[in-house]
C-alpha cells in the first residue's frame, strides 16, 4: 500500500480522481437512503419545481424528485459501465495477446473482423445490435461490449507484438518455452497495467453510450432512473427547468473526470518503472 | 570574452538536499575544445544543463556563478535567457533522431534555426546549403528536401552540428554526441565537430563517457566523479599521469591498456 500512498503524494490529480470515484460510489450506496422521496413517486401538483428544501435538486415534468432519481440511478449506471469495461478489458487483452502470439492466418482473420467492426460507427452498430437482440439493459450492455472491444483488441495486440520481441520473451523461447508460458508470464503481466488504465479511461464513454441507447429506447427501460436517460428526458425542458439536465449531466461529467484521473493514478501505481530508483 | 566560466558551482536536489555538483569550477576559452568525462551520475550532463540555465525541476543552484560569454546567468530574465540560448549557446544532444522533428524536411528545420539567428528570408536556402556543405554532406540541395528518417545516423548528427553552429555561437555544448553512432561515423562526426568549432572560434565543451573520443579531439580534459572535478589538464597529461585516484581508477578500467585476458583492475564494491 506504500506504493499507493507514494503515488497519491506525487500525483494530486490522480488522487482527486480516486476521491471522485469514491464519492460517486458512496453516493450510489448512500444516496437512496438519504433521499426524501421514492424515485418514481409522481406528484403532478409539484411538477418542474426548482431546487428547494423539499426537493433538493428540483422535480421533473411528472413531479418526481430529481435527487432521488439521480441517487437510485447511480448504482445501475456505474455498475453497468464497470461490467461492460471489465468484460471488454478481459476479452480484449486475451484476444489481442492470442492474436499476436498465434500470428499467421488466425491473426489476419481476427484483424480484418476488427477492421470491419471499427469501420461502422460505434453507436450505429450498437443500435443495430441492441435492436436485433431486443430492447433491454442486458442486451444494450452486450452491444456496448461488442462495439468497445475492437479498440482493446487492437491495443493489446500491438503491445503484445512489442513484448513478444523483447529480449526476455526471446530468451524464454530460446529456453524452450511454449506459447502458453510466454503468454502467461511475459505477455499478460506486462499487458495488465496499460489495459486496466485504458479501461478506466473508457468508463465514461460507456456510461454515455448506455445513456445514448437508453435515450432511443434500446437500453434501460423507463421509468428506470438511469443517468443517461435523465439527461435525455430533461432536454425538452432545458429552457424553463435547467436543473433537470444539469444535475445528471454534472454527475456524468464528474464520473468521466473521476475515472479518467483514476486511470492515470492506477498507471503510476501499476508501473514499477515509475518508482524512483533506490 | 571567455565563452564559459563556471566558478564554485554547487547544485542540490531540493527534496533531500543531496549535493549533485559540488563546488565545480571550469572554463572554456574561445576556440578551445574541452572534454568533460566521467561515468553516469558523475554530474557531467547536469553541468551542461546548468551552463544554459536549464537545471531540471527539483534541482537548485546553491552557490557559485556561471558566466556565458561574459554574461552572468544568475538573475537573467527569461527573455534574456532565451536570447542567450538563441544566439550565444548551442546544445547538441546524443540522439540525432529525436533531436530532429520527424515530420518536417531538413531544409525547413534549418530555415527555422537560421530565422532565429536573424538570417533574412531570402538568404536562408543559400545559407542552409552552405552550412551542409561545410559539414561535408554530399548534395546539400537534395538533402534539404529529405526527412530525418531518410538520413543515416551520422548524417543526422552532422545536420545537427550544422544547426548548432548556424548562429556562430560563442559556446557549443555537445552531450554524448557520438555515443549513438556507428564506429566509422563516430570518428568522422567528431572530426567535423572539432574542425567547425576551431573555424568559428567557438568554445566547445565535449561531454562524454567515451574516453577514446575525448582523448582524440580535446585540448584539455576535465574528469568528474561524484559531482566534483577531480582532474583538469592537457589530454596527454590526464591520460599519461593522472593526479587523482578517481581518474587513475577510471583509466585502469580501459581494456586497451590491460594484458589480454587478465582481470582488469577495478575497485571494490559491486555495480
Amino acid at each position: 500500500m506504500s506504493a499507493l500512498r507514494l503515488a497519491m503524494r506525487r500525483d494530486p490529480a490522480g488522487s482527486l480522481g480516486a476521491l471522485l470515484v469514491l464519492l460517486l460510489l458512496g453516493f450510489a450506496m448512500l444516496g437512496p437512503l438519504v433521499a426524501q422521496h421514492p424515485p418514481d413517486a409522481i406528484a403532478l401538483a409539484r411538477r418542474l419545481q426548482p431546487p428547494s428544501a423539499l426537493n433538493w435538486l428540483g422535480t421533473d415534468e411528472l413531479g418526481r424528485d430529481v435527487f432521488a432519481r439521480l441517487a437510485h440511478g447511480a448504482w445501475p449506471s456505474l455498475m453497468a459501465a464497470l461490467l461492460v469495461v471489465g468484460t471488454t478489458v478481459t476479452l480484449g487483452t486475451l484476444l489481442g495477446a492470442f492474436s499476436a502470439l498465434l500470428g499467421g492466418l488466425a491473426d489476419a482473420v481476427a484483424m480484418r473482423i476488427i477492421d470491419v467492426l471499427l469501420a461502422v460507427p460505434a453507436l450505429v452498430l450498437a443500435m443495430a445490435l441492441a435492436a436485433a437482440l431486443g430492447p433491454s439493459l442486458v442486451n444494450a450492455l452486450i452491444a456496448l461490449v461488442v462495439v468497445r472491444l475492437p479498440v482493446f483488441v487492437r491495443l493489446a495486440r500491438a503491445q503484445a507484438l512489442v513484448l513478444r520481441s523483447r529480449p526476455f520473451a526471446e530468451f524464454a523461447r530460446l529456453a524452450g518455452a511454449g506459447r502458453w508460458h510466454v503468454l502467461r508470464h511475459h505477455l499478460l503481466p506486462n499487458l495488465a497495467g496499460i489495459m486496466v488504465v485504458q479501461g478506466l479511461m473508457d468508463v465514461a464513454a460507456v456510461i454515455l453510450g448506455a445513456a445514448a441507447l437508453g435515450f432511443i429506447g434500446l437500453g434501460a427501460q423507463p421509468p428506470s432512473p438511469e443517468w443517461g436517460g435523465l439527461v435525455a428526458s430533461g432536454r425538452h425542458f432545458m429552457a424553463d427547468a435547467w436543473w433537470l439536465s444539469l444535475f445528471p449531466g454534472l454527475a456524468l461529467m464528474l464520473a468521466a473526470l473521476g475515472f479518467n484521473l483514476l486511470g492515470d493514478l492506477v498507471r503510476d501505481v501499476l508501473d514499477p518503472r515509475q518508482e524512483p530508483a533506490p | 570574452m571567455t565563452p564559459l566560466v563556471i566558478s564554485n558551482l554547487t547544485v542540490c536536489r531540493r527534496a533531500d538536499g543531496r549535493v549533485l555538483i559540488d563546488g565545480l569550477s571550469l572554463s572554456v576559452a574561445a576556440g578551445e575544445v574541452v572534454g568533460l568525462v566521467g561515468e553516469s551520475g558523475s554530474g557531467k550532463s547536469l553541468t551542461a544543463m546548468a551552463a544554459i540555465g536549464m537545471l531540471p525541476a527539483g534541482l537548485q543552484q546553491e552557490a557559485g556563478s556561471i558566466m556565458v560569454a561574459g554574461v552572468p546567468l544568475g538573475g537573467l530574465a527569461t527573455a534574456a535567457l532565451r536570447q542567450l540560448r538563441q544566439r550565444t549557446v548551442s546544445l547538441i544532444f546524443q540522439d540525432p533522431m529525436t533531436a530532429l522533428c520527424p515530420t518536417r524536411r531538413i531544409g525547413a528545420q534549418l530555415a527555422d534555426v537560421l530565422a532565429v539567428a536573424g538570417c533574412p528570408r531570402t538568404d536562408r536556402v543559400a545559407r542552409a546549403m552552405a552550412l551542409l556543405a561545410d559539414m561535408h554532406l554530399p548534395d546539400p540541395a537534395m538533402l534539404l528536401r529529405r526527412y530525418p528518417h531518410q538520413l543515416s545516423g551520422g548524417q543526422r548528427q552532422r545536420v545537427l552540428i550544422a544547426m548548432a553552429f548556424s548562429a556562430s555561437p560563442a559556446l557549443v555544448l555537445a552531450d554524448e554526441v557520438t555515443t549513438a553512432l556507428d564506429v566509422s561515423a563516430r570518428a568522422q562526426v567528431l572530426r567535423l565537430l572539432v574542425e567547425r568549432a576551431r573555424q568559428m572560434g567557438s568554445g566547445l565543451l565535449f561531454i562524454t563517457h567515451d574516453l577514446g573520443a575525448a582523448r582524440h579531439c580535446c585540448d584539455r580534459i576535465l574528469v568528474m566523479a561524484g559531482g566534483r572535478l577531480v582532474e583538469n589538464g592537457p589530454a596527454a597529461q590526464v591520460f599519461g599521469q593522472p593526479a587523482s585516484p578517481e581518474a587513475r581508477q577510471l583509466l585502469a578500467a580501459l581494456p586497451e591498456r590491460a594484458v589480454p585476458r587478465q582481470p582488469l583492475p577495478v575497485g571494490g564494491g559491486l555495480q
Binding site: R166, P167, F168, A169, E170, F171, A172, R173, L174, A175, G176, A177, H181, H185, H186, P189, N190, P272, R273, E275, A277, P278 | E39, S40, D182, V183, S184, R186, A187, Q188, L190, H209, D210, L211, G212, A213, A214, R215, H216, F239, Q249, L250, L251, A252, A253, L254, P255, E256, R257, A258, P260, R261, Q262, P263, L264, V266, G267, L270, Q271
Partner: protein
C-alpha cells in the same frame, strides 16, 4: 579436437532486403574458446550470433553440435542480450527470471528454484538477498549480471553475447568482463562475443572474426590481426577506432 559448435555456409536474407544479411558464413567454436566477432553496424554480426544461438533460423546452411548434425540440445547454448534495460521481465522478481530456463528444462519446486537463484546470484557476484528484487531496482551493470546468471542456469557449454557491455559505464564494463573471464576459467564455457569495440575484443578473445557485408573477411589472433589487418573492413575498423591509449 571436435568443434563444440560448427556452422557451415549460413545464409539469411530477410524478405524484401536487397542483399543477404548473412552471406555464407562457416565457423567452428572449440570448447572453452572465446571468439570475438567484430564489424561495423549492418555487417551481419548480430544476425549471425542469433543464428548460432538458435534464435533465428537460417535460410540455408547447417549447424553441428559436437560433430553431430543438427541444433544443440536445449540449454547447451545460451544468450546474453545487448540492452540490460529490456532484457529482464519487469514484472518478475529476479529469482524467477534467473531460474526460468532451468524450470522450463525440468520441473522444479519453488524451494529448488530459490536455492538455484541464490547460487546463480553468488556466481555473478551479487548478494543472495537480491533474489526477491525486481529489475527496476537494479543498475544497468547489475541487470547485465542477472542476464549472465540467467544464461548460466542451464549449465550451457556455449554462451553467446551480443554487445553485452556497450550500454554500460567503463568501470562496470570492466567488472562484467572480469566476470566473464572468471567464468571461462572456472567452468570452461566457450563464448562468442559480438562487438564493435576493438579494445574489448582484443582484451577478451582468443580468436577474432572480422565481418563485412554478411561475410567473414578475416580471422586470427586478435593482437596480431588488429595490429596489421589485411582486409579493408578490418583496416577501416582499426583506423576509425578512437583508442584512449594512443
Amino acid at each position: 579436437m571436435t568443434a563444440l559448435l560448427a556452422a557451415r555456409d549460413l545464409r539469411w536474407q530477410p524478405a524484401g532486403a536487397k542483399a543477404p544479411i548473412v552471406d555464407g558464413v562457416s565457423l567452428a567454436i572449440s570448447p572453452g574458446e572465446f571468439v570475438g566477432i567484430l564489424g561495423g553496424s549492418g555487417c551481419g554480426k548480430t544476425s549471425l550470433s542469433r543464428m548460432l544461438a538458435g534464435l533465428r533460423r537460417p535460410d540455408a546452411g547447417t549447424l553441428a553440435w559436437k560433430g553431430a548434425a543438427g541444433s544443440p540440445p536445449r540449454g547447451a547454448v545460451s544468450f546474453v542480450f545487448q540492452d540490460p534495460f529490456t532484457s529482464l521481465n519487469p514484472r518478475k522478481p529476479l529469482w524467477w527470471s534467473l531460474t526460468e530456463a532451468a524450470a522450463l528444462a525440468a520441473p522444479l519446486t519453488a524451494a529448488a528454484r530459490r536455492s538455484l537463484a541464490d547460487e546463480l546470484l553468488v556466481q555473478v557476484g551479487l548478494p543472495p538477498d537480491h533474489a526477491t528484487r525486481f529489475p527496476h531496482q537494479l543498475s544497468g551493470g547489475q541487470r547485465q549480471r542477472i542476464a549472465i546468471g540467467r544464461a548460466l542456469a542451464t549449465q550451457p557449454e556455449l554462451l553467446i553475447l551480443d554487445e553485452p557491455t556497450s550500454a554500460l559505464d567503463l568501470s562496470v564494463q570492466a567488472r562484467i568482463l572480469n566476470l566473464l573471464l572468471s567464468l571461462q576459467a572456472s567452468r570452461n564455457i566457450a563464448m562468442v562475443m559480438v562487438s564493435h569495440d576493438i579494445a574489448v575484443i582484443r582484451h577478451m578473445a582468443h580468436r577474432v572474426l572480422v565481418m563485412d557485408a554478411g561475410r567473414i573477411v578475416e580471422s586470427g589472433e586478435p593482437t596480431a590481426l588488429l595490429a596489421a589487418p589485411r582486409s579493408t573492413a578490418g583496416a577501416r575498423l582499426v583506423a576509425n577506432f578512437l583508442s584512449a591509449d594512443i
